[in-house]
Symmetry: D2
Subunit: 350 residues, 4 copies
């Protein structure tokens, strides 16, 4: 019963097979190989426009490099106050960005609104005393398992662009969001106004496949140097290109994401029926509930894995129940019905 | 009628005289001169213990260098959400600190409490995902013209020290706070638990005299290099040492600060009598009021100088009055009774 | 005929098998898994003492993080003027180190001597004007395919330690050096005075397996945060631990390195017999020769891959031959006798 | 007998008078005052074109900020291997530039040639492995007291511009160079191809007056933020603007520089006559000689101040004399004939 995270699962067999499948012959290092060229073309096809693709080692690196590339060191990055960027990257964006400042914004369901964004952009004492908002970053799907509709993204992007800000999307779970919204990758990103994307396949089946995607390739000028000196240019690059290629093949990415999302829906349904309604609407592959202490003890004893979540993030109007803890449950392409049923049964206690 | 800031005033004549007074003969550059040695001893006397003193060019530099010196790049600095550090330094602490993260805390009257501090230290996902709180920084006097009592500082320092954090004080207006609290510089700083101080004389009469003071000199190891590569080591150093020496002479610093504080009290009294009560208690040399639009127009027309303040900082329970703006009035050693009276009269409108 | 680099080869099948072999079940992300624990113990066994191990994505990252961790931002790093650190990392050490300065030293055969090191440490104007030497970094094997004898490393380390510097080894090709020197990993590193090691398996058979090794574990304090914010903490960490474990299994690392070194010897012998003597003694897996233009054309036409090397690095006393270019040939565990013979034949031209 | 440096002298009385002369009335802080506006116009007049002017605290800051502003973090800065930038700034350019790399070039008389520059630009492994040359920086006058003729600057600038590099001039002693070359400030800078100038008045009479000058103002975009977060924006800005204004008044700057240069000439003549010929041609205000140990002892005993210089910088073909040390003697506007005569007499020993 692993609900700890979608990155504590295995690699999708198709992807590992693809890695083994390219393990023959000579290939120039550092991305100067044919397979990387193939991936670059494939990525452009997937996004229905020419894009500039930079593979990197981790989602943290993708986010930090993408943001640094859209900033001056005195820039501000506006994002949700609960975003991974702020809470879980150990200051990577500040480091890669030469000391940029992240400014957290409140917002229901892990999303913020154009109104909040516009208000925040308007604050500050002006140049040179205040940092200058340069980027808005949104997580899709969000930290709370919700999903921005594409129109919501577009409204944020319009507010940002009108004020000179670039739009970054932290797409560590973009596949799950696209599976939920039922549109294309293009709809979810540049057609909705996204300028730069951290595109993650690792949480959705890959071994280690993360990319920074620039939808306006000239904007990527200098990024090759930035990636290299960030220690993010793999030498045996073909084995990372191969992962993304396999992920795209026959819509594997979408099938894996749908499995994860469906698993979350089933889990939420089961828990709701057991009297444990999700704290936030379950749209992608995460379920948050307030779990009674007794259920927690039973589940832990049975080997269930999941993480606690800070109660400070509970929505306005939701009471922190006594003797409960807020927990996060993440499903993946590898989550089985049996695990869901077992978890629900133990949570219910009967 | 200059109430724009205490750094838009002149230099105290005693200080300028002292600068001229040392303008003869040869003196080794970069602080290797006798006068700098004299100041270092004098600084230790003023603080009643041996301290390490580093003169720098600006308050921004003092804050940023002091904080960087107490941090690793992955550290967090906890401070009031309205602190100068967060709102007015254009990201200098992040830059000098290699990408440290500033975390703002709420708190009435520009102060935060030990409870808030302890709560904030306890947040986060743990190492290595979260930045690590390493410094708490408090402004004395505060951004809202209030003053921490020395016991309040001590309580914060105890909470910080018990959790391994260093205590930094932004003392751009420390003289005003000491004048209000009526204790010594030692009482206000290391006796209350302060480890590192940004000590500013510029706002209180000097031309450009700011210092970073370490109360535990071994903690300053490496600071000479940090200051130099920060572009903060003046070559003709004696002229900056001379300013602090003159400021300390015959309690000039205290006399200047008292004048400024008294001017603020008078101004506040006058405005209160005119139906414009201060938004925060006036303890140092700043007065904040909600000014009617008509009074604002009259004052501006008469050449009064002052700045608007973001209404978002209004205390809980204080209503933003319609057709009013929140303004900040700063007094200085050079503020005259005539200017105060004229300002009050124009504000009152009769 | 791939002699371009040892990172343009395939992955050793044993290593890819090991990656596939751990692809089942749940494993906590970010290195909190059992396999990573196993690797940490195994690494200590291999080095015959307790070490602190940090896996990272690339050799650039290993070097930059290791060096940053031994430096203050105002430190200097002394290394060979032809070192990878200076010429090929796009400034990564400067970036990760917050602006440290690399100082190149001359030296025959890609090595520098204690005398040169001591002379360089003694230069400079002193604090705070000069940066402060804090680390000496040496590449083992060197950029020119030579190998420091363990006693040579020890002499350098003694000179460094006596002056307060830490010793870093760039071991991207350490396996090849150990294979040549015929000692143990312990002999090659901490027993010879190395404090911190960039330990690379990628060039010697792995997919992407690089580690920073601290021989004095307390020195690694803070490294977990530094790695995370450097974007270098893999989420699916087990698949990277598995590579090192397989590499150590049954001395695979040594067998792969020996194959590569032997291939280089054969290649050098063949070229010498063809009138193309190696520019530097061939000790590890690299051969440098001055290649006539006609041979270059023949080889390129036949699909041979190799890189040109700057003639400025030719040893004192070696004349740059007209109509020749200096080339580097790198062998690997995958280099075949057939390729060597074919290359030599084409180089000879008959 | 102060020949230690031109920054160990007093402030020119005219400049201190000017500082006192503006010490009345209210002036907005942070450069938003009328006097700063006046200086900006005056600076444009002095350079005979519209320039963007940024006052800063030190020459180190001017250099580091100017260079950072023309660089990406992965840029290389090419400069003389003996330049102040490399040897005396404690890594400030690396810090402000986010980890840029300084590359030293050899060259006779403290100058480098276009040939050397072009050769150095052409080195490296290419993107993304090597840093990318972005700036050439030259010191005028040089670290060895020599002066580039304006045509020499122009030739370097043409070589740089043709290859996409910007040209920075470290003008800590530009006044001395202009005094020697007998042209205008415009001739010495932008007319010779300089893009950005660190313009120092401190060594030539001011208290603390250093500026970054952009000859193409749009290039300065963002510099206000960069300066502020660098801790380099003085609050009581008028007192720094006043120094430059006084320095320009009635050609004071040129008169002070000529005095210093003439003093150096006299000193060199005297020493040459005493059998101590200057090591480098004396063109500005510095004289280097190899001083016998006995003379050194006599001079030190008599209180003469001067610094030793590393013998490694001796020109090719100049033998380091046994029992001698290489010393640097710097003259200033305050150097008296009496001091020169006394120094020569003591050096001669009779």
């Amino acid at each position: 019963m692993n609900f700890a995270s979608d990155n504590s699962t295995i690699v999708a067999p198709e992807i590992l097979d693809a890695v083994a499948g390219v393990n023959s012959g000579f290939a120039l290092a550092y991305g100067n190989d044919d397979l990387t060229r193939t991936l670059e073309r494939r990525m452009s096809e997937m996004f229905e426009r020419e894009v500039a693709t930079f593979l990197v080692a981790t989602g943290t690196a993708a986010n930090a490099l993408a943001i640094a590339h859209c900033c001056q060191p005195w820039s501000a990055v506006l994002c949700h106050e609960a975003s991974h960027l702020i809470t879980d990257e150990a200051g990577a964006p500040e480091f890669f960005g030469g000391g940029v400042k992240l400014i957290g914004m409140p917002g229901e369901n892990g999303k913020f609104t154009p109104e909040t964004l516009i208000d925040m952009i308007g604050r500050g004492r002006g140049v040179p005393h205040s940092v200058i908002p340069a980027v808005v970053s949104l997580s899709q799907s969000t930290e709370f398992g919700t999903v921005y509709r594409n129109e919501e993204v577009r409204a944020l992007a319009e507010a940002a662009h009108a004020r000179g800000l670039a739009v970054h999307m932290d797409g560590a779970r973009l596949a799950n969001a696209v599976a939920h919204n039922n549109g294309s990758l293009a709809d979810a990103t540049w057609k909705a106004g996204v300028d730069v994307l951290s595109f993650g396949a690792t949480k959705c089946g890959a071994l280690a496949a993360e990319a920074v995607i620039f939808f306006d390739p000239p904007r990527a000028a200098g990024m090759a140097s930035r990636r290299k000196r960030g220690g993010q240019l793999f030498s045996k690059h073909r084995f990372f290109a191969a992962q993304f290629l396999a992920w795209f093949e026959s819509d594997l990415w979408l099938r894996l994401a749908r499995h994860a999302n469906n698993a979350a829906s089933k889990l939420a349904d089961g828990l709701r029926a057991a009297g444990l309604p999700p704290v936030w609407t379950v749209e992608a592959n995460e379920v948050f509930v307030q779990l009674p202490a007794a259920a927690d003890a039973r589940l832990r004893a049975a080997g269930a894995a999941y993480v606690s979540w800070p109660q400070e993030f509970l929505p306005h109007g939701t009471v922190a129940l006594p003797q409960h803890k807020l927990i996060r449950l993440v499903t993946s392409f590898a989550t089985s019905d049996a695990d869901i049923e077992k978890f629900v049964m133990l949570a219910r206690g009967t």
